[in-house]
């Protein structure tokens, strides 16, 4: 996913994320990729360009809850979706990106 990777450095000891595979780990083991809500368009027709543009570039920046991609790059290497509160830093839950994607595809979002 090229640009947009952010790696937390050693100083920022903050969030604890409970990886479904590895258990509770501090944030420095994770790499983040922003909002997980946008779904990749299924069409390859050039007429779908606007949808693609939204998918690639447009991200909400909510105050409050957000579903966010987190890669357990310093652990089991699973992509996760962490639901956290941008205001309070509270982590509400974590699922694998796989389960999140399957659920999203089922709900047809």
């Amino acid at each position: 996913m090229g640009p947009g990777f952010r790696r937390d450095d050693d100083l920022g000891s903050n969030l604890i994320i409970t990886c479904p595979h590895c258990g509770a780990r501090p944030v420095e083991e994770f790499t983040f990729l922003g909002d997980a809500k946008p779904q990749r368009p299924t069409s390859n027709d050039p007429s779908s360009m606007e949808q693609w543009f939204d998918y690639v570039y447009l991200r909400d920046n909510p105050k409050g809850r957000i579903d966010e991609f987190a890669h357990h790059s310093g652990g089991c290497r699973a992509w996760l979706v962490v639901t956290r509160n941008t205001e309070t830093h509270e982590v509400h839950g974590t699922v694998t990106a796989k389960d999140y994607a399957v659920r999203a595809k089922k709900s047809g979002r």
Binding site: C22, E28, E29, G75, C76, R77, T96
Partner: protein, 175 residues
């Protein structure tokens, strides 16, 4: 041709660091290493796990979702046994394994990993994939105060230098 350890000129047996009686930790390199990664194919996680559990003479270590490191079994034999239930990838040369034991082994490892290694939380047989000194590490508790840890081969020298420096205060023995 004999297998050549990347640490053959780096790791020297002896007693190092603080000299306060018995060494706090004992360190060694497992070489030659036999280590195979087994990843269950889609829908075959249960079958793969069952085949591995039934194996004798090899150690199976958890290494991620539906992934295992198998120590002490040939890749070819595993391929035969697991068929298309799993991908079999030999990492015997790709990883370097260290053995860390002694009363200070947990204190030493805590300088690298955020994983809670207390015996109640990380009992014998448990494995974790984590990061230590900026290097990805696979860690398994193998005994009361005993651990096995492997890193990618290319990092092994750098990692060894970090590990031994962190062990100075405890006093360490290299076997």
């Amino acid at each position: 041709m004999l297998r050549e350890s990347p640490l053959k000129d780096v790791v020297r047996a002896g007693r190092y660091g603080a000299d306060k009686g018995a060494p706090g930790v004992t360190l060694s390199v497992v070489h030659p290493l036999s280590l195979v990664m087994v990843i269950a194919r889609k829908g075959k996680a249960k079958a793969a796990k069952e085949s591995l559990t039934a194996m004798r003479g090899a150690t199976v270590m958890w290494a991620g979702p539906d992934q295992y490191y198998v120590k002490g079994a040939e890749a070819a034999a595993l391929k035969k046994k697991l068929g298309d239930a799993a991908s079999i990838i030999d990492q015997s040369h790709g990883r370097v394994m260290f053995r860390i034991s002694g009363p200070k082994s947990r204190a030493l490892l805590a300088k690298g990993t955020p994983v809670d290694l207390h015996a109640d939380e990380f009992p014998i047989g448990k494995s974790a994939v984590t990061q230590m000194a900026h290097v990805g590490a696979h860690l398994t508790c193998t005994g009361k105060d005993d651990f096995e840890l492997s890193v990618f081969r290319g990092f092994s020298e750098s990692f060894w230098e970090w590990l031994t420096e962190q062990a100075l205060e405890f006093g360490y023995q290299v076997n």
